[in-house]
């Protein structure tokens, strides 16, 4: 029973049928079987979030989910955000605020932000920080990423506000520090 298993899932609006090995993850199925390499492989322990995709609307680390578990589910990857050759408002906001530096974490950041905005259309800064806490950016471009999410939420991607200085929490009125 370690032979390939047939699974059916909807990926970015398209019904797909693939055969997956039981020990392969959703991340592997997306990248290797479906050729969707926008979803990145990085830490493989669920800490960095580079492999974030939405499964039935909820964000997950696709490195921590077996492909077989995704049988019958609806998956959204970064390739599914743009429609008709047009970037989504969120992607456009990332572009406008120069939120991508090396770009490696951006697919995961986008999917986490997509899930956050679906649940909280106008998040506070603290909600954005918490919503994206599972996505690490080794370039440390967090301020621009947060600003991009705020801009997308405000529908004002063309005129981003000047982000506060990094580390200047006093400049962030709605920032909260979780109790330790």
């Amino acid at each position: 029973m370690t032979e390939p298993l047939p699974i059916e899932l909807t990926v970015n609006g398209r019904d797909r049928r693939v055969e997956v090995l039981p020990h392969h993850t959703l991340l592997q199925a997306l990248r290797e079987d479906l050729g969707l390499t926008g979803t990145k492989e990085c830490c493989l322990v669920g800490e960095c979030g580079a492999c974030t995709v939405l499964v039935d609307g909820r964000s997950v680390d696709s490195c921590l989910m077996l492909a077989a578990e995704a049988d019958g589910s609806v998956v959204l990857t970064v390739e599914g955000l743009a429609t008709g050759g047009e970037l989504s408002p969120l992607q456009q906001a990332f572009l406008d605020t120069s939120a991508a530096q090396c770009g490696f974490c951006i697919p995961g950041q986008l999917l986490s932000a997509q899930a956050l905005l679906a649940e909280v259309p106008h998040p506070t800064r603290a909600q954005i920080e918490e919503g994206l806490a599972g996505n690490l950016c080794r370039c440390a471009g967090y301020e621009q990423i947060i600003e991009a999410v705020r801009a997308a939420a405000a529908g004002a991607a063309e005129a981003p506000a000047i982000p506060p200085a990094v580390g200047d929490r006093a400049a962030i009125p709605d920032a909260t520090v979780a109790p330790q």
């Binding site: 020990h23 964000s59 680390d61 921590l64 578990e69 330790q180």
Partner: protein, 287 residues
């Protein structure tokens, strides 16, 4: 990852059957946020992974059942955080669930899995212990119920019998106003296992229940019947003394990389006093 077989039974009796057939060669999969990591690093090498998410009798619902609130085996941390019932009646559990990993992890990680992994640092264990949680286990002989305090043995080891699985976790409905809180100490904010976890619950009867984790091989619950901790007017020194007695059996690991035993014992007392203060304040503000 080393190859394994994947089974996705739809009936509980089939899960029990697979566990009987494969013994220790079978591992149950619910959220997978611990299991997949251990399959990948090779510390677990099962022949078969049994995915329990399609089992008809298992669910992820939080619902009242008699004098208890029942958490189905598939209840995720996200479900707990989102539950108005949990936030109202079991706030320490909601606070603890919110500390688990990130959004992505909370969307998958289950409460039952957090218990079955039996980590001394399990974030939700202290809150469940102070609220008097019971485990509903299902095995070849049928269902049985046991207090969560009788479930933990040591890291990774529980009193589940071979062939048994957790069907649900139940909490008694509160019998009156109480104040409760969850606190934890980590090396840094964000993803990290706890150096010390603490939950405190104070009732109008003057009883205080405290549970702590990450300070020994398993989470521990202790009870103060003296009324000292619940008394807002009691001097702080008397409370400290009482906490020292209650925490006398704490045995932090001498080899952990996250914190020294001395630091953990010191923080246990700090969090204990802080937790008691907050729980007493919350009780005063309760209906």
């Amino acid at each position: 990852m080393r190859p394994f077989a994947y089974e996705r039974p739809t009936a509980l009796r089939d899960v029990v059957g697979l566990l009987g057939e494969h013994g220790s060669g079978a591992r149950l999969l619910a959220g997978g946020t611990d299991l997949i990591i251990r399959l990948r690093d090779g510390s677990l090498r099962p022949d078969v992974v049994v995915d329990v998410k399609r089992v008809a009798e298992l669910d992820g619902e939080i619902r009242e059942a008699g004098a208890r609130v029942r958490f189905g085996a598939l209840t995720t941390m996200t479900d707990i955080v989102a539950s108005a019932r949990v936030r109202r009646d079991y706030p320490a559990l909601a606070e603890a669930a919110l500390f688990v990993g990130s959004v992505q992890i909370r969307n998958r990680a289950t409460l039952a899995g957090n218990m079955c992994n039996a980590s001394p640092a399990a974030d939700t264990a202290p809150a469940l212990l102070v609220y008097g949680a019971e485990i509903v286990a299902r095995g070849p002989g049928g269902s049985r119920r046991l207090p969560l305090d009788a479930f933990f043995v040591r890291s990774g080891e529980t009193t589940l019998n071979p062939g048994e699985l957790v069907e649900a976790i139940e909490l008694p409905v509160p019998d009156g106003p109480r104040g409760s809180v969850h606190l934890r100490r980590t090396r840094r904010r964000g993803h990290d296992l706890a150096s010390v976890t603490m939950a405190v619950s104070v009732g109008r009867d003057g009883r205080t229940r405290l549970a702590y984790g990450s300070v020994g091989p398993r989470p521990v619950v202790v009870v103060d019947d003296s009324g000292t901790l619940a008394d807002p007017a009691a001097p702080e020194d008397a409370k400290r003394e009482r906490l020292d007695t209650l925490f006398a059996d704490a045995r932090p690991s001498p080899t952990s990389m996250r914190a020294s035993p001395e630091y953990r014992l010191a923080m246990l007392r700090v969090l204990g006093l802080r937790g008691v203060t907050t729980a007493v304040d919350r009780l005063a503000g309760a209906r």
